[in-house]
Symmetry: C2
Subunit: 122 residues, 2 copies
């Protein structure tokens, strides 16, 4: 684990080699976390510094939202850095693509495909 040395409040991130497929899949197996990741992926094109949590609107409470971001960070899916009191979030696309070529793209594609198909009630 490494921490953000520039901040007094350390945010633990796994090193690339510590990222496990099971953890990534678990992190992405939740609809709210998938929503976060889809929005971060959409932001990639801008190549900005990432999105703050408040820029991503989620239908959950603040503490639930914080939990979801932590699961994404601790599994290695996103990088979180402090900018003042806000956390900026970015996909760890380079790390994921290096470890698991094609995985993130296929999951994002699957999430889009699912969002576009009608919901079936059983």
């Amino acid at each position: 684990m490494t921490t953000d040395a520039a901040s007094s409040r350390p945010l633990a991130h796994p090193e690339r080699a510590e990222i496990r497929l099971e953890g990534v899949l678990h992190a992405l197996s939740d609809p709210i976390r998938l929503l976060i990741v889809r929005q971060l992926a959409g932001d990639d094109a801008g190549a900005g510094p990432g999105l703050s949590c408040s820029q991503i609107e989620l239908p959950v409470t603040k503490s639930t939202s914080t939990h979801h971001y932590r699961v994404l960070r601790e599994s290695g899916v996103i990088q979180q850095i402090y900018r003042g009191t806000a956390k900026l979030n970015e996909l760890r696309r380079d790390d994921l693509d290096a470890l698991f070529p094609g995985l993130l793209g296929s999951i994002l594609g699957a999430a889009t495909a699912q969002a576009e198909r009608p919901v079936v009630l059983s």
Copy 2:
């Protein structure tokens, strides 16, 4: 949900349209279930009728193993049918590929890549 009409012990499977990405990713986020799926994927080449649970050796108890197969079946990742007292297991590759093109292949590829890289102890 549909059940196996040929059996007196019904095994519930989601229809293709009921399969959810979150459920598939959750099913595959466990190392034992990933092991099962990798073995079933390896068996695909033979195009046989599938593998029985006893043909797939797992480092867990029978009841834990039954639980893992059920999670895989109920999420739509595998099809289970009775042959006498044995259950035969097959990947639902056609359904998954139709819903989420490239997803299963990239997860299987990622699992292989991970199995081949050295374990990092943090």
